[in-house]
């Protein structure tokens, strides 16, 4: 590719969150878009590519109309909670290939206000038919699917509820520094273990919050970014993979996620290893999601995640600062959290992360997980060009 066509992230923003009773889902997209464009020093007129995903088909077209965009490049690849890492990967490739110059990627959700505050244990789906029927007859829930993975990991590797709780405690420590976070009061391992059991072995505090909110980012060329106010963040590597759709009975090994394929591909693409990563922003729908992702991305060996997360290693002042905004476990989880991971990774790399800033952060990983532990998408971002 020509030098000038390296893709960079030039702007990021979150919308207001976590509770937006007076906003529509579309307004959340618009607010995030306006802020990300302002952050990038660009306007809607600069946008010739657009990507988003929601629960309905032709969503990117719908939002383009709403935002009054006329892009000639679109993407709405649905990879569940991992979608936004995929959309940024695709946007970067499109920009580098010359299909378009500047892509806006937005996310918006008001699921908390729409549903009222309740735990996302999953509702009644469509009539059970086809392959889906095999898993839809038994009263399993979203939490239950992740609980099945946690139980199996405990059985194979001796992982404990205390170790999973450490992850929730660390996220809450970070959330205490985030004025927007949904929950900010400190918690202890004892609090997590004492919280209501939802699906054994996962307690209420092993589960993400349910929020309103959104975010956006702007992907453009390195050349274009030279004139823009913020330091460009390079897309160093990206890959995505899946293990199954919504039937966890079809997941070959419940202790190995799609990150075991997307991670090595993304690191190889970037010419980096996990040891090069200064901060990790990992999808934390549940505590077990983080633990499995750490193993599968190669930060520790398979089965070693329990010991790895002990001793504050994931804290902002630990060896691998993780989810430094408080994560989905404490700060904000509007349903598909992947955009928040990208925004926080970029803020860390720019030195804009405030009290949980990782000193001299040069490489960040953002990894989304979607479905019932079904999909994984890894983005490696950095301050220096590859």
């Amino acid at each position: 590719m020509a030098d000038g066509r390296r893709a960079v992230i030039a702007g990021v923003a979150t919308s207001d969150y976590p509770n937006l009773p007076d906003m529509s889902e579309y307004q959340v997209h618009a607010q995030a878009a306006e802020r990300a464009l302002a952050d990038a020093g660009l306007t809607f007129d600069d946008i010739d590519g657009y990507a988003t995903v929601g629960f309905f088909p032709m969503y990117a077209v719908q939002l383009s109309e709403y935002l009054r965009l006329q892009p000639h490049w679109f993407d709405e690849t649905n990879f569940g909670g991992a979608s936004f890492e995929v959309l940024v990967e695709h946007a970067a490739r499109a920009v580098e290939a010359g299909a378009c110059d500047t892509v806006l990627v937005t996310y918006g959700s008001v699921q908390l206000s729409a549903m009222g505050r309740r735990l996302g244990t999953g509702g009644r789906g469509p009539a059970p038919s086809g392959p889906a029927a095999f898993d839809q007859l038994w009263g399993n829930t979203l939490v239950g699917s992740y609980a099945l993975a946690a139980r199996r990991h405990m059985h194979e590797f001796g992982t404990t509820s205390e170790q999973l709780a450490e992850i929730a405690v660390t996220m809450r420590t970070h959330a205490a520094f985030n004025p927007h976070a949904q929950y900010r009061d400190p918690i202890t391992v004892h609090d997590v273990l004492g919280s209501r059991m939802i699906a054994e072995p996962l307690h209420m505090l092993d589960c993400c919050v349910i929020s309103d909110g959104g975010g956006a980012c702007v992907v453009t060329t390195e050349e274009r970014a030279r004139d823009l106010p913020k330091p460009p963040i390079h897309v160093l590597g990206a890959a995505h993979a899946m293990t199954h759709h919504m039937n966890v009975s079809a997941m070959p090994d419940m202790t190995v996620t799609a990150a075991a394929r997307s991670g090595p591909l993304a690191f190889a693409h970037a010419g980096l290893t996990p040891a090069d990563v200064d901060t990790a922003q990992l999808y934390d729908s549940f505590t077990i999601t983080v633990l499995l992702t750490l193993e599968d991305l190669g930060f520790c060996g398979k089965g070693e995640g329990g010991a790895f997360v002990e001793g504050g290693r994931l804290r902002f002042d630990g060896a691998l600062p993780t989810n430094t905004d408080g994560g989905g476990l404490s700060a904000c989880h509007p349903g598909m959290r992947g955009m928040f991971l990208i925004v926080e990774a970029v803020r860390q790399l720019r030195g804009e992360a405030g009290a949980t800033q990782v000193p001299d952060a040069k490489v960040a990983v953002a990894h989304g997980t979607g479905g019932m532990l079904s999909t994984g998408a890894t983005l490696l971002l950095g301050t220096e060009r590859p």
Binding site: R118, L119, T121, G122, G123, R124, A127, P128, S129, G130, P131, A133, F134, D135, Q136, L137, W138, G139, N140, T141, V143, G144, A147, L148, A149, R151, R152, H155, R196, M197, I198, A199, E200, P201, L202, N247, V248, S249, A250, M254
Partner: protein, 141 residues
């Protein structure tokens, strides 16, 4: 005057399609079917047109109904009827001795008695008139 109790909502039942009907029809007759690759013997569920390993032809075969628990969870919160009236209950993934993994409920047991690796056996219970589903019991119970 108290409200009359709502009638219990029936459990969800499978909606068979041409590909899955043999499996659900057999369940209604108390038989657990799986697909066997006629080329190399691999067993699989849910049904597909071909063996997922070698793409060879497959045929239906009756399973023994014996399995072991791969993983399980005790569901303690579910707002969806009828399951909210059944709390707590055990959702499990069980590995049939022939190989395929199924999701099911392990029934007629104390949730605390279920363990990963525990042997289980199938029992077909009627959930709606004419519809039986493959539940599992702890072996020896």
């Amino acid at each position: 005057m108290s409200e009359p109790a709502k009638p219990p909502r029936p459990r969800p039942v499978p909606v068979p399609d041409p590909e899955t009907a043999p499996y659900w029809d057999a369940a209604n007759e108390g038989r657990l079917l799986l697909q066997r690759c006629t080329r190399h013997g691999h067993r699989q569920l849910y049904p597909r047109p071909h063996c997922v390993v070698c793409r060879g032809p497959v045929e239906w075969e009756e399973a023994s109904g014996r399995a072991t628990v791969y993983s399980f969870t005790v569901i303690r919160q579910n707002m969806v009827r009828p399951f909210r009236d059944l709390l707590p209950y055990v959702v499990a993934l069980v590995d049939l001795e022939e190989g395929p993994r199924l999701m099911t409920n392990i029934v007629d047991c104390e949730p605390d008695d279920v363990a990963v690796g525990a042997p289980v056996r199938v029992r077909f219970d009627e959930v709606t008139e004419g519809v039986r589903l493959p539940f599992f019991l702890l072996a020896g119970s």
